[in-house]
Symmetry: C2
Subunit: 186 residues, 2 copies
């Protein structure tokens, strides 16, 4: 049973904090479970029991870092909002640390939902943008269309084709998507 507010929560917080601190201090590759445990003031076996191994722990921490910290910018119209968001998203995710977090998130238990959480964060942000546009009376595509047409291609390049990315790619994807949904009335 998870006991929020109790010792478990304190330990989890201490461990996550230790990971973030040590990641910055000694670098990701030098992280080990015993090192994190020492910094967090817990015994290694506690970490092994709760997270199974270092990968799971890093995956959990990575998901936290990929959580958006604010609602997307509101620039007054759908095209600008989506473009701005996509550019920022690409910029963050394609950076070396961003890519490291994505990889870590994917590495966790495949059915543990960490990767799904990342996708949910993006979908949520897009949902906000689309809802605002709909309130303004704009013709909006569905969330799924935006994921398929903008998020997925960017992620694919980040993961499988590093070095083939720049901000104009994000703009082009958004433009193509809006052109298509404009025609079909998506």
């Amino acid at each position: 049973m998870v006991r929020p507010g109790g010792r478990s929560a304190r330990v989890q917080h201490a461990v996550h904090t230790a990971v973030r601190e040590l990641e910055a201090e000694v670098g990701r590759d030098a992280l080990t479970v015993p090192l994190v445990a020492a910094r967090a003031g817990v015994t290694p076996s506690t970490i092994y029991r709760r997270w199974r191994d270092l990968q799971q722990l890093l995956s959990d921490v990575a998901v936290e870092r990929l959580r958006p910290d604010a609602a997307p910018d509101d620039r007054g119209d759908l095209a600008s909002d989506l473009e701005t968001w996509a550019e920022q998203f690409l910029d963050e995710m394609a950076s070396p640390p961003g890519r490291a977090y994505i990889r870590d998130a994917l590495l966790g238990d495949p059915d543990g939902g960490n990767a799904g959480q990342c996708s949910a964060y993006a979908a949520e942000q897009i949902g906000v943008i689309l809802a605002r546009a709909a309130e303004r009376g704009e013709n909006t595509p569905g969330i799924e269309s935006v994921i398929d047409g903008v998020v997925a291609p960017m992620m694919y390049r980040i993961l499988f084709r590093p070095g083939r990315l720049d901000a104009s790619y994000a703009r082009r994807l958004v433009a193509d998507l809006l052109a298509a949904s404009g025609r079909t009335g998506g």
Copy 2:
């Protein structure tokens, strides 16, 4: 210096074979470097030196397994060819073993090119399909469009949203892509 045909090649082959055999026998999670080394008849230090760690080795083996073993089916027209290929691709990649191989391939050295190799395999197959269509005089989209419009969305779902996939998704993506490229003369 790599010496093809020499001892190095024999060792590499023995190690890869050992990984595949043991993967089937004891399961992926029970694989360890010493175990693989014993089966391959080499010492663990050989593996550590050549592959650095188990992840790199698994990544190499995974890429081999993701290599297409034949040219894509020729059904006589672009739409059918793409649809058939996309369905097969999704089917293979979304299966539990397929997903495991993709994850392993992504896990290798980020700049080592294993992930890029996977993408190149897909691009090559698509290139064959498009070239055949062009020879027939059909109006074809570019390879990049197919990757962005079909491969990327499928991969995104496989990695980030397991459980939201079926063959109709592949068909829909292909249909949408061809409709769009038909309009623009892709």
